[in-house]
Symmetry: C2
Subunit: 290 residues, 2 copies
Amino acid sequence: MSAAPAVSQEGPLALICGGGSLPLAIADSVSARGRQVLLFPLQGIARPEDYAQRPHTWVRIAKFGTLARAARAAGCHEMVLIGSLVRPAFWQVRFDLTTLKLLPRIAAAFRGGDDYLLSSGARLIEEQGFRVLGAHEVAPEILVPKGALARVQPSEGERADIALGFDYLHATGPFDVGQAVVVAGRHVLAVEAAEGTDQMLERIAALRASGHIRASTVGGVLVKAPKRGQDRRFDLPSIGPRTVEGAARAGLAGIAVVAGSTIVAEPERLIAAADRANIFVVGLPAGSEQ
Amino acid sequence: MSAAPAVSQEGPLALICGGGSLPLAIADSVSARGRQVLLFPLQGIARPEDYAQRPHTWVRIAKFGTLARAARAAGCHEMVLIGSLVRPAFWQVRFDLTTLKLLPRIAAAFRGGDDYLLSSGARLIEEQGFRVLGAHEVAPEILVPKGALARVQPSEGERADIALGFDYLHATGPFDVGQAVVVAGRHVLAVEAAEGTDQMLERIAALRASGHIRASTVGGVLVKAPKRGQDRRFDLPSIGPRTVEGAARAGLAGIAVVAGSTIVAEPERLIAAADRANIFVVGLPAGSEQ
Protein backbone atom coordinates (compact mmCIF):
# COMPACT_ATOMS: atom_id res chain seq x y z
CA MET A 1 0.00 0.00 0.00
CA SER A 2 2.51 2.62 -1.08
CA ALA A 3 1.11 6.15 -1.40
CA ALA A 4 3.05 7.48 -4.38
CA PRO A 5 1.69 10.79 -5.73
CA ALA A 6 -1.10 10.26 -8.28
CA VAL A 7 0.87 12.16 -10.89
CA SER A 8 3.70 9.64 -11.16
CA GLN A 9 1.31 6.68 -11.25
CA GLU A 10 -0.71 8.15 -14.07
CA GLY A 11 2.14 8.92 -16.44
CA PRO A 12 1.58 11.37 -19.29
CA LEU A 13 -1.89 11.82 -20.78
CA ALA A 14 -2.38 11.36 -24.52
CA LEU A 15 -4.80 13.83 -26.08
CA ILE A 16 -6.19 12.79 -29.45
CA CYS A 17 -7.20 16.17 -30.83
CA GLY A 18 -10.07 16.85 -33.22
CA GLY A 19 -10.94 20.33 -34.47
CA GLY A 20 -11.66 23.52 -32.55
CA SER A 21 -10.02 25.27 -29.61
CA LEU A 22 -11.10 22.81 -26.93
CA PRO A 23 -8.21 20.30 -27.20
CA LEU A 24 -5.64 23.02 -26.46
CA ALA A 25 -7.68 24.40 -23.56
CA ILE A 26 -7.76 20.92 -22.05
CA ALA A 27 -4.04 20.45 -22.67
CA ASP A 28 -3.33 23.71 -20.80
CA SER A 29 -5.58 22.71 -17.94
CA VAL A 30 -4.00 19.27 -17.53
CA SER A 31 -0.49 20.75 -17.81
CA ALA A 32 -1.36 23.32 -15.15
CA ARG A 33 -2.23 20.41 -12.84
CA GLY A 34 1.34 19.15 -13.31
CA ARG A 35 0.62 16.26 -15.63
CA GLN A 36 2.51 15.85 -18.88
CA VAL A 37 0.39 15.95 -22.04
CA LEU A 38 1.15 14.29 -25.38
CA LEU A 39 -0.69 15.95 -28.25
CA PHE A 40 -1.87 13.81 -31.16
CA PRO A 41 -3.74 16.09 -33.56
CA LEU A 42 -5.80 14.24 -36.18
CA GLN A 43 -4.65 14.86 -39.71
CA GLY A 44 -7.23 16.56 -41.91
CA ILE A 45 -9.28 17.55 -38.86
CA ALA A 46 -7.11 19.59 -36.43
CA ARG A 47 -5.66 22.84 -37.80
CA PRO A 48 -1.84 22.76 -38.23
CA GLU A 49 -1.42 26.40 -37.09
CA ASP A 50 -2.97 25.57 -33.71
CA TYR A 51 -0.20 23.07 -33.01
CA ALA A 52 2.81 24.87 -34.53
CA GLN A 53 4.02 26.16 -31.12
CA ARG A 54 3.75 22.88 -29.21
CA PRO A 55 5.34 19.44 -29.44
CA HIS A 56 2.89 17.15 -31.18
CA THR A 57 2.62 14.04 -33.36
CA TRP A 58 0.18 14.01 -36.24
CA VAL A 59 -1.93 10.88 -36.41
CA ARG A 60 -4.47 9.56 -38.86
CA ILE A 61 -7.82 8.09 -38.07
CA ALA A 62 -7.59 4.31 -38.47
CA LYS A 63 -3.79 4.37 -38.21
CA PHE A 64 -3.91 3.51 -34.56
CA GLY A 65 -0.60 1.60 -34.61
CA THR A 66 1.51 4.80 -34.86
CA LEU A 67 -0.38 6.43 -32.04
CA ALA A 68 -0.24 3.35 -29.79
CA ARG A 69 3.54 2.94 -30.28
CA ALA A 70 4.29 6.60 -29.59
CA ALA A 71 2.06 6.63 -26.51
CA ARG A 72 3.52 3.41 -25.09
CA ALA A 73 7.08 4.61 -25.68
CA ALA A 74 6.28 7.67 -23.55
CA GLY A 75 4.88 5.55 -20.70
CA CYS A 76 1.34 6.71 -21.38
CA HIS A 77 -1.64 4.61 -20.29
CA GLU A 78 -4.52 7.02 -20.56
CA MET A 79 -6.06 8.81 -23.53
CA VAL A 80 -8.68 11.46 -24.09
CA LEU A 81 -10.48 12.00 -27.42
CA ILE A 82 -11.56 15.61 -27.71
CA GLY A 83 -12.60 18.20 -30.28
CA SER A 84 -14.98 18.27 -33.18
CA LEU A 85 -14.93 15.38 -35.62
CA VAL A 86 -16.01 15.28 -39.20
CA ARG A 87 -16.51 11.67 -40.01
CA PRO A 88 -14.08 10.70 -42.78
CA ALA A 89 -15.20 9.05 -45.96
CA PHE A 90 -14.64 5.36 -45.41
CA TRP A 91 -12.83 4.94 -48.71
CA GLN A 92 -10.53 7.89 -47.92
CA VAL A 93 -9.18 6.18 -44.82
CA ARG A 94 -5.85 4.34 -45.19
CA PHE A 95 -5.48 1.57 -42.69
CA ASP A 96 -2.33 0.34 -40.98
CA LEU A 97 -1.73 -3.23 -39.91
CA THR A 98 -2.96 -2.90 -36.30
CA THR A 99 -6.16 -1.35 -37.55
CA LEU A 100 -6.61 -3.64 -40.52
CA LYS A 101 -7.24 -6.62 -38.26
CA LEU A 102 -10.12 -4.72 -36.73
CA LEU A 103 -11.57 -3.75 -40.09
CA PRO A 104 -14.87 -5.64 -39.96
CA ARG A 105 -15.73 -3.96 -36.67
CA ILE A 106 -14.65 -0.55 -37.92
CA ALA A 107 -16.84 -0.98 -40.96
CA ALA A 108 -19.72 -1.76 -38.62
CA ALA A 109 -18.92 1.36 -36.61
CA PHE A 110 -19.09 3.45 -39.77
CA ARG A 111 -22.59 2.26 -40.46
CA GLY A 112 -23.89 3.37 -37.06
CA GLY A 113 -24.52 6.88 -35.77
CA ASP A 114 -21.99 9.26 -34.22
CA ASP A 115 -22.32 7.81 -30.74
CA TYR A 116 -21.67 4.36 -32.05
CA LEU A 117 -18.60 5.47 -34.02
CA LEU A 118 -17.06 7.15 -30.99
CA SER A 119 -17.82 4.39 -28.51
CA SER A 120 -16.52 1.80 -30.99
CA GLY A 121 -13.33 3.83 -31.37
CA ALA A 122 -12.93 4.00 -27.61
CA ARG A 123 -13.45 0.25 -27.30
CA LEU A 124 -10.75 -0.43 -29.90
CA ILE A 125 -8.31 1.83 -28.05
CA GLU A 126 -9.07 0.14 -24.75
CA GLU A 127 -8.40 -3.28 -26.24
CA GLN A 128 -4.89 -2.04 -27.01
CA GLY A 129 -4.38 -1.58 -23.27
CA PHE A 130 -5.18 2.12 -22.88
CA ARG A 131 -7.81 3.67 -20.67
CA VAL A 132 -10.07 6.18 -22.40
CA LEU A 133 -11.15 9.08 -20.19
CA GLY A 134 -13.60 11.90 -20.77
CA ALA A 135 -12.08 15.37 -21.09
CA HIS A 136 -14.13 16.52 -18.11
CA GLU A 137 -12.50 13.80 -15.96
CA VAL A 138 -9.04 15.28 -16.51
CA ALA A 139 -10.20 18.93 -16.56
CA PRO A 140 -13.46 19.20 -14.57
CA GLU A 141 -13.52 23.00 -14.80
CA ILE A 142 -14.51 22.72 -18.47
CA LEU A 143 -18.06 21.74 -17.47
CA VAL A 144 -20.73 24.46 -17.42
CA PRO A 145 -21.85 25.20 -13.83
CA LYS A 146 -25.43 25.84 -12.70
CA GLY A 147 -26.86 29.33 -13.17
CA ALA A 148 -26.19 32.28 -15.43
CA LEU A 149 -22.62 32.50 -16.73
CA ALA A 150 -22.89 36.05 -18.05
CA ARG A 151 -24.73 39.18 -16.90
CA VAL A 152 -28.15 38.72 -18.51
CA GLN A 153 -30.79 36.35 -17.08
CA PRO A 154 -33.49 34.62 -19.16
CA SER A 155 -37.03 36.03 -18.93
CA GLU A 156 -40.03 33.91 -18.05
CA GLY A 157 -41.02 33.57 -21.72
CA GLU A 158 -37.48 32.52 -22.56
CA ARG A 159 -37.60 29.92 -19.80
CA ALA A 160 -40.73 28.50 -21.45
CA ASP A 161 -38.84 28.31 -24.76
CA ILE A 162 -35.98 26.56 -23.00
CA ALA A 163 -38.38 24.00 -21.49
CA LEU A 164 -39.90 23.34 -24.92
CA GLY A 165 -36.42 22.89 -26.39
CA PHE A 166 -35.45 20.37 -23.73
CA ASP A 167 -38.75 18.52 -24.31
CA TYR A 168 -38.03 18.31 -28.02
CA LEU A 169 -34.47 17.05 -27.51
CA HIS A 170 -35.76 14.52 -25.02
CA ALA A 171 -38.33 13.24 -27.51
CA THR A 172 -35.69 12.83 -30.21
CA GLY A 173 -33.05 11.37 -27.88
CA PRO A 174 -33.44 7.80 -29.18
CA PHE A 175 -32.53 8.86 -32.73
CA ASP A 176 -28.84 9.84 -32.32
CA VAL A 177 -29.48 13.05 -34.25
CA GLY A 178 -28.25 16.49 -33.19
CA GLN A 179 -28.26 17.81 -29.69
CA ALA A 180 -29.50 21.32 -30.32
CA VAL A 181 -32.59 23.28 -31.33
CA VAL A 182 -33.54 26.92 -31.64
CA VAL A 183 -36.87 27.83 -30.03
CA ALA A 184 -38.56 31.24 -30.17
CA GLY A 185 -42.06 32.20 -29.06
CA ARG A 186 -42.86 28.57 -28.14
CA HIS A 187 -41.97 27.52 -31.69
CA VAL A 188 -39.10 25.27 -32.80
CA LEU A 189 -37.36 27.25 -35.58
CA ALA A 190 -34.45 24.91 -36.29
CA VAL A 191 -33.27 21.43 -35.42
CA GLU A 192 -29.63 20.46 -35.65
CA ALA A 193 -28.66 17.25 -37.43
CA ALA A 194 -25.59 16.64 -39.63
CA GLU A 195 -24.88 20.34 -40.16
CA GLY A 196 -23.79 21.14 -36.58
CA THR A 197 -24.69 24.02 -34.27
CA ASP A 198 -22.77 26.79 -36.03
CA GLN A 199 -24.44 26.12 -39.36
CA MET A 200 -27.85 25.86 -37.74
CA LEU A 201 -27.35 29.32 -36.22
CA GLU A 202 -26.27 30.69 -39.61
CA ARG A 203 -29.51 29.34 -41.03
CA ILE A 204 -31.57 31.25 -38.48
CA ALA A 205 -29.62 34.43 -39.25
CA ALA A 206 -30.30 33.94 -42.99
CA LEU A 207 -34.01 33.14 -42.48
CA ARG A 208 -34.37 36.28 -40.39
CA ALA A 209 -32.48 38.44 -42.90
CA SER A 210 -34.77 37.24 -45.71
CA GLY A 211 -37.95 37.78 -43.68
CA HIS A 212 -38.78 34.07 -43.71
CA ILE A 213 -39.13 33.85 -39.95
CA ARG A 214 -42.28 34.97 -38.30
CA ALA A 215 -42.35 38.22 -36.41
CA SER A 216 -43.91 36.49 -33.41
CA THR A 217 -40.57 34.81 -32.95
CA VAL A 218 -38.17 37.63 -32.15
CA GLY A 219 -35.34 36.61 -29.89
CA GLY A 220 -35.28 32.93 -29.20
CA VAL A 221 -33.00 30.51 -27.44
CA LEU A 222 -30.38 27.99 -28.52
CA VAL A 223 -30.98 24.89 -26.40
CA LYS A 224 -28.39 22.10 -26.25
CA ALA A 225 -28.63 18.85 -24.32
CA PRO A 226 -26.68 15.59 -24.16
CA LYS A 227 -28.40 12.69 -25.81
CA ARG A 228 -29.79 9.95 -23.61
CA GLY A 229 -27.45 7.00 -23.24
CA GLN A 230 -24.60 9.01 -24.73
CA ASP A 231 -21.13 7.93 -23.58
CA ARG A 232 -20.19 10.88 -21.40
CA ARG A 233 -16.49 10.38 -22.09
CA PHE A 234 -16.80 12.15 -25.41
CA ASP A 235 -19.34 14.00 -27.43
CA LEU A 236 -20.82 15.89 -24.50
CA PRO A 237 -22.42 18.98 -26.05
CA SER A 238 -20.10 21.96 -26.03
CA ILE A 239 -20.32 25.74 -26.33
CA GLY A 240 -17.67 28.38 -26.85
CA PRO A 241 -17.21 32.02 -27.90
CA ARG A 242 -18.10 31.07 -31.48
CA THR A 243 -21.45 29.66 -30.32
CA VAL A 244 -22.22 32.95 -28.57
CA GLU A 245 -21.25 34.96 -31.66
CA GLY A 246 -23.39 32.72 -33.86
CA ALA A 247 -26.35 33.05 -31.48
CA ALA A 248 -25.95 36.84 -31.49
CA ARG A 249 -25.85 36.95 -35.31
CA ALA A 250 -29.00 34.80 -35.35
CA GLY A 251 -30.72 37.42 -33.18
CA LEU A 252 -31.19 35.03 -30.28
CA ALA A 253 -31.74 36.15 -26.69
CA GLY A 254 -29.60 33.43 -25.17
CA ILE A 255 -28.21 29.93 -24.83
CA ALA A 256 -29.35 27.20 -22.42
CA VAL A 257 -27.42 24.01 -21.66
CA VAL A 258 -27.40 21.30 -19.00
CA ALA A 259 -25.06 22.14 -16.11
CA GLY A 260 -22.41 19.50 -15.47
CA SER A 261 -23.10 17.85 -18.84
CA THR A 262 -21.86 20.53 -21.23
CA ILE A 263 -18.31 21.50 -22.03
CA VAL A 264 -17.42 25.16 -22.29
CA ALA A 265 -14.38 26.13 -24.34
CA GLU A 266 -12.62 29.38 -23.36
CA PRO A 267 -15.13 30.47 -20.68
CA GLU A 268 -13.67 33.98 -20.22
CA ARG A 269 -13.98 34.79 -23.91
CA LEU A 270 -17.44 33.22 -23.97
CA ILE A 271 -18.66 35.38 -21.06
CA ALA A 272 -17.14 38.53 -22.59
CA ALA A 273 -18.84 37.76 -25.92
CA ALA A 274 -22.20 37.14 -24.18
CA ASP A 275 -22.00 40.40 -22.24
CA ARG A 276 -21.01 42.29 -25.38
CA ALA A 277 -24.00 40.87 -27.26
CA ASN A 278 -26.33 41.16 -24.27
CA ILE A 279 -27.36 37.54 -24.39
CA PHE A 280 -27.74 35.06 -21.57
CA VAL A 281 -25.91 31.75 -21.15
CA VAL A 282 -27.42 29.49 -18.49
CA GLY A 283 -26.61 26.07 -17.13
CA LEU A 284 -29.77 24.34 -15.92
CA PRO A 285 -29.75 21.48 -13.42
CA ALA A 286 -29.50 18.00 -14.92
CA GLY A 287 -33.02 16.61 -15.18
CA SER A 288 -34.34 19.84 -16.77
CA GLU A 289 -33.93 18.10 -20.10
CA GLN A 290 -36.04 15.08 -19.18
CA MET B 1 -86.43 15.96 -52.08
CA SER B 2 -85.47 17.62 -55.36
CA ALA B 3 -82.40 16.16 -57.03
CA ALA B 4 -80.79 19.27 -58.50
CA PRO B 5 -77.25 18.72 -59.80
CA ALA B 6 -74.63 19.22 -57.07
CA VAL B 7 -72.90 21.89 -59.12
CA SER B 8 -75.72 24.43 -58.93
CA GLN B 9 -76.23 23.89 -55.18
CA GLU B 10 -72.59 24.52 -54.40
CA GLY B 11 -72.15 27.81 -56.21
CA PRO B 12 -68.68 29.01 -57.10
CA LEU B 13 -65.70 28.00 -54.99
CA ALA B 14 -63.40 30.67 -53.53
CA LEU B 15 -59.71 29.74 -53.58
CA ILE B 16 -57.53 31.76 -51.21
CA CYS B 17 -54.16 31.31 -52.87
CA GLY B 18 -50.80 31.24 -51.12
CA GLY B 19 -47.51 30.74 -52.96
CA GLY B 20 -46.43 27.99 -55.36
CA SER B 21 -48.06 26.26 -58.31
CA LEU B 22 -50.60 24.25 -56.35
CA PRO B 23 -53.44 26.83 -56.16
CA LEU B 24 -53.61 27.07 -59.97
CA ALA B 25 -53.49 23.29 -60.36
CA ILE B 26 -56.46 23.04 -58.01
CA ALA B 27 -58.27 25.83 -59.81
CA ASP B 28 -57.88 23.97 -63.11
CA SER B 29 -59.06 20.71 -61.59
CA VAL B 30 -62.17 22.28 -60.04
CA SER B 31 -62.96 24.17 -63.27
CA ALA B 32 -62.61 20.93 -65.24
CA ARG B 33 -65.31 19.45 -62.99
CA GLY B 34 -67.61 22.25 -64.15
CA ARG B 35 -67.55 24.37 -61.01
CA GLN B 36 -66.76 28.07 -61.17
CA VAL B 37 -63.66 29.18 -59.26
CA LEU B 38 -62.98 32.61 -57.75
CA LEU B 39 -59.27 33.26 -57.29
CA PHE B 40 -58.15 35.36 -54.31
CA PRO B 41 -54.34 35.45 -54.38
CA LEU B 42 -52.76 36.72 -51.14
CA GLN B 43 -50.81 39.92 -51.60
CA GLY B 44 -47.12 39.61 -50.82
CA ILE B 45 -47.32 35.81 -50.94
CA ALA B 46 -48.73 34.70 -54.33
CA ARG B 47 -46.72 35.72 -57.42
CA PRO B 48 -48.51 38.30 -59.64
CA GLU B 49 -47.24 36.72 -62.90
CA ASP B 50 -49.01 33.45 -62.01
CA TYR B 51 -52.37 35.23 -61.98
CA ALA B 52 -51.93 37.66 -64.89
CA GLN B 53 -53.88 35.43 -67.34
CA ARG B 54 -56.87 34.72 -65.08
CA PRO B 55 -59.62 36.77 -63.42
CA HIS B 56 -58.62 37.28 -59.79
CA THR B 57 -58.98 39.60 -56.80
CA TRP B 58 -55.95 40.36 -54.66
CA VAL B 59 -56.62 40.10 -50.93
CA ARG B 60 -54.58 40.82 -47.86
CA ILE B 61 -54.23 38.63 -44.84
CA ALA B 62 -56.35 40.07 -42.03
CA LYS B 63 -58.46 42.10 -44.48
CA PHE B 64 -61.15 39.50 -44.52
CA GLY B 65 -63.97 42.01 -45.14
CA THR B 66 -63.01 42.60 -48.80
CA LEU B 67 -62.77 38.89 -49.45
CA ALA B 68 -66.05 38.09 -47.69
CA ARG B 69 -67.96 40.78 -49.60
CA ALA B 70 -66.59 39.73 -52.99
CA ALA B 71 -67.31 36.08 -52.28
CA ARG B 72 -70.86 36.71 -51.05
CA ALA B 73 -71.62 38.93 -54.05
CA ALA B 74 -70.70 36.02 -56.31
CA GLY B 75 -72.98 33.60 -54.42
CA CYS B 76 -70.05 31.71 -52.97
CA HIS B 77 -70.42 29.68 -49.76
CA GLU B 78 -67.30 27.54 -49.77
CA MET B 79 -63.64 28.42 -49.54
CA VAL B 80 -60.33 26.59 -49.83
CA LEU B 81 -57.04 27.91 -48.42
CA ILE B 82 -54.15 26.50 -50.43
CA GLY B 83 -50.50 27.13 -51.21
CA SER B 84 -47.41 27.92 -49.18
CA LEU B 85 -47.66 30.59 -46.50
CA VAL B 86 -44.94 32.72 -45.02
CA ARG B 87 -46.32 33.99 -41.77
CA PRO B 88 -46.51 37.79 -41.98
CA ALA B 89 -44.98 40.05 -39.38
CA PHE B 90 -47.82 40.95 -37.05
CA TRP B 91 -47.05 44.66 -37.17
CA GLN B 92 -46.96 44.60 -40.98
CA VAL B 93 -50.56 43.45 -41.15
CA ARG B 94 -53.16 46.17 -41.73
CA PHE B 95 -56.52 45.25 -40.38
CA ASP B 96 -59.95 46.12 -41.76
CA LEU B 97 -63.05 46.62 -39.65
CA THR B 98 -64.40 43.06 -39.92
CA THR B 99 -61.06 41.70 -38.84
CA LEU B 100 -60.36 44.32 -36.23
CA LYS B 101 -63.18 43.00 -34.06
CA LEU B 102 -61.48 39.63 -34.04
CA LEU B 103 -58.09 41.10 -33.20
CA PRO B 104 -57.59 39.58 -29.75
CA ARG B 105 -58.13 36.10 -31.17
CA ILE B 106 -55.93 36.77 -34.18
CA ALA B 107 -53.16 37.89 -31.88
CA ALA B 108 -53.55 34.63 -29.98
CA ALA B 109 -53.33 32.73 -33.27
CA PHE B 110 -50.06 34.48 -34.09
CA ARG B 111 -48.51 33.28 -30.88
CA GLY B 112 -49.24 29.62 -31.64
CA GLY B 113 -47.63 27.32 -34.18
CA ASP B 114 -48.49 27.02 -37.87
CA ASP B 115 -51.31 24.57 -37.30
CA TYR B 116 -52.88 26.87 -34.80
CA LEU B 117 -52.63 29.89 -37.11
CA LEU B 118 -54.30 28.04 -39.95
CA SER B 119 -57.05 26.43 -37.92
CA SER B 120 -57.77 29.77 -36.21
CA GLY B 121 -57.97 31.42 -39.64
CA ALA B 122 -60.39 28.75 -40.81
CA ARG B 123 -62.54 29.22 -37.72
CA LEU B 124 -62.75 32.97 -38.30
CA ILE B 125 -63.82 32.41 -41.90
CA GLU B 126 -66.46 29.90 -40.85
CA GLU B 127 -67.93 32.33 -38.37
CA GLN B 128 -68.56 34.65 -41.31
CA GLY B 129 -70.84 32.00 -42.76
CA PHE B 130 -68.45 30.25 -45.15
CA ARG B 131 -67.51 26.59 -45.18
CA VAL B 132 -63.79 25.89 -45.32
CA LEU B 133 -62.86 22.81 -47.32
CA GLY B 134 -59.55 21.03 -47.83
CA ALA B 135 -58.10 21.25 -51.33
CA HIS B 136 -58.20 17.45 -51.57
CA GLU B 137 -61.96 17.54 -50.97
CA VAL B 138 -62.56 19.60 -54.11
CA ALA B 139 -59.77 17.96 -56.16
CA PRO B 140 -59.16 14.46 -54.77
CA GLU B 141 -56.74 13.54 -57.58
CA ILE B 142 -54.12 15.82 -55.99
CA LEU B 143 -53.49 13.22 -53.26
CA VAL B 144 -50.53 10.88 -53.68
CA PRO B 145 -51.74 7.29 -54.28
CA LYS B 146 -50.22 4.13 -52.77
CA GLY B 147 -47.13 2.69 -54.47
CA ALA B 148 -44.33 3.99 -56.65
CA LEU B 149 -45.25 7.02 -58.76
CA ALA B 150 -42.19 6.87 -61.00
CA ARG B 151 -40.11 4.05 -62.48
CA VAL B 152 -37.62 3.37 -59.65
CA GLN B 153 -38.54 1.38 -56.53
CA PRO B 154 -36.88 1.85 -53.11
CA SER B 155 -34.37 -0.81 -52.05
CA GLU B 156 -34.63 -2.68 -48.77
CA GLY B 157 -32.05 -0.36 -47.13
CA GLU B 158 -33.97 2.65 -48.36
CA ARG B 159 -37.16 1.20 -46.89
CA ALA B 160 -35.36 0.99 -43.52
CA ASP B 161 -34.38 4.67 -43.86
CA ILE B 162 -38.00 5.51 -44.67
CA ALA B 163 -39.19 3.66 -41.55
CA LEU B 164 -36.67 5.54 -39.41
CA GLY B 165 -37.81 8.85 -40.90
CA PHE B 166 -41.46 8.09 -40.14
CA ASP B 167 -40.49 7.09 -36.59
CA TYR B 168 -38.68 10.38 -36.10
CA LEU B 169 -41.57 12.45 -37.47
CA HIS B 170 -43.96 10.50 -35.27
CA ALA B 171 -41.84 11.23 -32.16
CA THR B 172 -41.77 14.95 -32.95
CA GLY B 173 -45.44 15.14 -33.96
CA PRO B 174 -46.55 16.88 -30.74
CA PHE B 175 -44.18 19.81 -31.38
CA ASP B 176 -45.77 21.40 -34.49
CA VAL B 177 -42.34 21.59 -36.14
CA GLY B 178 -41.60 20.56 -39.71
CA GLN B 179 -42.99 17.55 -41.44
CA ALA B 180 -39.88 16.33 -43.19
CA VAL B 181 -36.50 14.72 -42.56
CA VAL B 182 -33.66 13.38 -44.67
CA VAL B 183 -32.40 9.94 -43.64
CA ALA B 184 -29.43 8.09 -45.13
CA GLY B 185 -27.73 4.93 -43.94
CA ARG B 186 -30.04 4.76 -40.88
CA HIS B 187 -28.93 8.25 -39.89
CA VAL B 188 -31.05 11.42 -39.73
CA LEU B 189 -29.06 14.01 -41.73
CA ALA B 190 -31.50 16.92 -41.61
CA VAL B 191 -34.70 17.92 -39.89
CA GLU B 192 -37.01 20.52 -41.36
CA ALA B 193 -38.31 23.33 -39.16
CA ALA B 194 -38.89 26.97 -40.16
CA GLU B 195 -36.73 26.75 -43.29
CA GLY B 196 -39.04 24.47 -45.32
CA THR B 197 -38.31 21.40 -47.42
CA ASP B 198 -36.56 23.10 -50.35
CA GLN B 199 -34.02 24.81 -48.10
CA MET B 200 -33.43 21.63 -46.12
CA LEU B 201 -32.60 19.83 -49.38
CA GLU B 202 -30.24 22.65 -50.39
CA ARG B 203 -28.48 22.19 -47.06
CA ILE B 204 -27.88 18.50 -47.77
CA ALA B 205 -26.52 19.36 -51.22
CA ALA B 206 -24.14 21.93 -49.65
CA LEU B 207 -23.02 19.56 -46.87
CA ARG B 208 -22.27 16.88 -49.45
CA ALA B 209 -20.41 19.30 -51.75
CA SER B 210 -18.19 20.40 -48.85
CA GLY B 211 -17.49 16.83 -47.72
CA HIS B 212 -19.25 17.38 -44.40
CA ILE B 213 -21.52 14.41 -44.79
CA ARG B 214 -20.23 10.97 -44.09
CA ALA B 215 -19.48 8.62 -46.90
CA SER B 216 -21.54 5.93 -45.21
CA THR B 217 -24.57 8.01 -46.05
CA VAL B 218 -24.64 8.04 -49.85
CA GLY B 219 -28.11 8.27 -51.28
CA GLY B 220 -30.72 8.85 -48.65
CA VAL B 221 -34.43 9.52 -48.59
CA LEU B 222 -36.60 12.59 -48.08
CA VAL B 223 -39.43 11.50 -45.79
CA LYS B 224 -42.52 13.68 -45.32
CA ALA B 225 -45.51 12.97 -43.11
CA PRO B 226 -48.53 14.89 -41.87
CA LYS B 227 -48.32 15.92 -38.25
CA ARG B 228 -50.57 14.17 -35.77
CA GLY B 229 -53.78 16.05 -35.07
CA GLN B 230 -53.14 18.31 -38.05
CA ASP B 231 -56.28 19.81 -39.59
CA ARG B 232 -56.38 17.92 -42.88
CA ARG B 233 -58.17 20.77 -44.64
CA PHE B 234 -54.91 22.63 -45.10
CA ASP B 235 -51.24 22.16 -44.51
CA LEU B 236 -51.17 18.54 -45.66
CA PRO B 237 -47.56 17.92 -46.69
CA SER B 238 -47.00 18.45 -50.39
CA ILE B 239 -44.47 17.51 -53.06
CA GLY B 240 -43.95 18.75 -56.59
CA PRO B 241 -41.40 18.79 -59.43
CA ARG B 242 -39.28 21.23 -57.41
CA THR B 243 -39.10 18.77 -54.51
CA VAL B 244 -37.84 16.09 -56.89
CA GLU B 245 -35.24 18.42 -58.39
CA GLY B 246 -34.07 19.44 -54.90
CA ALA B 247 -33.85 15.81 -53.81
CA ALA B 248 -31.80 14.99 -56.92
CA ARG B 249 -29.41 17.91 -56.30
CA ALA B 250 -29.05 16.67 -52.69
CA GLY B 251 -27.94 13.29 -54.05
CA LEU B 252 -30.94 11.49 -52.56
CA ALA B 253 -32.21 8.14 -53.80
CA GLY B 254 -35.86 9.01 -53.37
CA ILE B 255 -38.86 10.55 -51.66
CA ALA B 256 -41.38 8.81 -49.39
CA VAL B 257 -44.72 10.24 -48.31
CA VAL B 258 -47.98 9.01 -46.82
CA ALA B 259 -50.48 7.98 -49.51
CA GLY B 260 -53.82 9.76 -49.27
CA SER B 261 -52.34 12.37 -46.91
CA THR B 262 -49.92 14.17 -49.20
CA ILE B 263 -50.68 16.61 -51.98
CA VAL B 264 -48.81 16.32 -55.26
CA ALA B 265 -48.52 19.40 -57.43
CA GLU B 266 -48.12 18.83 -61.18
CA PRO B 267 -47.87 15.02 -61.03
CA GLU B 268 -46.83 14.55 -64.70
CA ARG B 269 -43.89 16.94 -64.35
CA LEU B 270 -42.99 15.35 -61.00
CA ILE B 271 -42.90 11.85 -62.49
CA ALA B 272 -40.88 13.03 -65.49
CA ALA B 273 -38.38 14.74 -63.18
CA ALA B 274 -38.09 11.62 -60.98
CA ASP B 275 -37.48 9.35 -63.98
CA ARG B 276 -34.92 11.78 -65.40
CA ALA B 277 -33.08 11.85 -62.06
CA ASN B 278 -33.53 8.11 -61.48
CA ILE B 279 -35.06 8.60 -58.03
CA PHE B 280 -38.09 6.94 -56.51
CA VAL B 281 -41.25 8.62 -55.23
CA VAL B 282 -43.44 6.35 -53.13
CA GLY B 283 -46.73 6.75 -51.31
CA LEU B 284 -46.88 4.43 -48.31
CA PRO B 285 -50.13 3.34 -46.66
CA ALA B 286 -51.38 5.58 -43.85
CA GLY B 287 -50.21 4.07 -40.58
CA SER B 288 -46.64 3.60 -41.89
CA GLU B 289 -45.80 6.83 -40.11
CA GLN B 290 -47.09 5.69 -36.71
